[in-house]
């Protein structure tokens, strides 16, 4: 009797998880475009319109190699938002509040909370974060203000060859969090079977690309406003480039 019950719970849980996966499970990350560092909104090869979403970007912060702040902003360069800084940056980070989303039984998503969509079968608040290491860090990567979910390399000496393992730690509200999903290649394999962080918040992935690597951490936390949403989904990228051989 016990086993079927466990199975039933598992099945129900899986169904709930599937339902909880938002229709537009997109993230943000940074990548080089025409020598500039661009903010990308999308998933996989879908590089969607990030310029129209610029008003949703709450902060963009740049840092030098010593993690001292560098005055940084985003500017629309045609259809692409690019990073503009007063000095060279070693890292850049951004926060996007993607707002409240409710799903109705007809499968449609509405950019409103449950309080405005009473028939919603699901309602969530989406936050998206991005951290890009433009230069390889020489010390620990700090936790950035406002990034409720952040993925950090445990050892700042990131291996420089694809195929090598990389251990990362997921932090939620500044503390290691177990059960966060860590995707190793959000751009080239958005459907991968991702790993989960363990009790110490760490997970080990394999570096997939001798080029741009975009890791994505995902964590579903409790509702920040129970009248409006069922939960909050946090999606946080960590991107960096492994160098190619000299030409």
């Amino acid at each position: 009797m016990k086993l079927p019950r466990i199975l039933a719970v598992t099945v129900a849980g899986s169904a709930l998880l599937a339902m909880a996966t938002p229709l537009s499970a997109h993230g943000i990350w940074f990548a080089q475009r025409a020598t500039q560092i661009a903010l990308v909104y999308g998933v996989g090869a879908d590089d969607l319109d990030a310029v129209k979403r610029l008003p949703l970007v709450k902060t963009v912060t740049g840092y030098d190699a010593d993690w001292a702040p560098v005055t940084t902003s985003l500017r629309a360069a045609g259809p692409i938002p690019v990073v503009d800084s007063e000095e060279p940056i070693a890292a850049v980070a951004a926060i996007m509040d993607y707002g409240l989303w409710s799903k109705t039984p007809d499968g449609k998503w509405h950019n409103k909370g449950r309080d405005e969509v009473p028939t919603a079968t699901l309602a969530e608040h989406n936050w998206k974060y991005a951290v890009h290491l433009a230069k390889m860090p020489t010390g620990p990567v700090p936790l950035f203000e406002g990034h409720k979910l952040q993925i950090v390399p445990v050892d700042p000496a990131i291996p420089q060859m694809m195929g090598e393992p990389l251990k990362v730690r997921a932090y939620y509200e500044g503390k290691p969090i177990a059960g966060a999903t860590i995707m190793s290649d959000y751009v080239n394999d958005p459907d991968e079977v991702a790993v989960k962080t363990g009790a110490d918040g760490t997970a080990t992935i394999t570096l997939r690309n001798q080029g741009l690597n975009v890791l994505m951490g995902i964590y579903v936390g409790p509702a920040d406003d129970k009248a409006k949403v069922d939960h909050v989904e946090y999606r946080s990228s960590l991107s960096f480039v492994l160098p190619h051989l000299p030409e």
Binding site: Q32, T35, Q36, R75, P88, L133, A134
Partner: protein
């Protein structure tokens, strides 16, 4: 000019935006006795002299028109920052007349094209 530069012992520092060193096509040989650094596809040669600081810009051995760019020079020395505009000075040359390059300083050249795209090049003095 060359001698002044050598006296300063300017050393090329790491360049900025990407971790990948630029391996664009084109010679890295200084054309004006200065120091050369690559940022993206753009080669910047910095020449310091008692008269000031000049930069020369090119891509794949082809000079870029200085008039198509705006540029600034930021020097950090002993915790103090000084900045100057680099003005087009004909051909592929931009100049900051009177700018004194100090020893032990970091000099960052920010080059902005008409589209607003900006590239940085960093030089470190010894």
């Amino acid at each position: 000019m060359k001698l002044d530069l050598m006296k300063l012992g300017l050393a090329v520092g790491a360049l900025a935006l990407t971790p990948t060193a630029a391996f664009a096509h084109g010679s890295m040989k200084p054309q004006h006795g200065g120091l050369v650094q690559m940022s993206g596809e753009t080669m910047v040669e910095l020449v310091a002299s008692p008269k000031g600081v000049d930069i020369f810009i090119s891509e794949e051995d082809e000079p870029l028109p200085a008039s198509a760019y705006t540029a600034t020079l930021t020097q950090t020395a002993s915790g103090q920052k000084t900045q100057a505009a680099l003005k087009p000075a004909g051909g592929n040359k931009l100049s900051a007349p009177g700018f004194k390059a100090a020893k032990g300083a970091k000099i960052v050249v920010a080059l902005v094209d008409k589209s607003g795209a900006k590239v940085f090049t960093t030089f470190q003095t010894k």
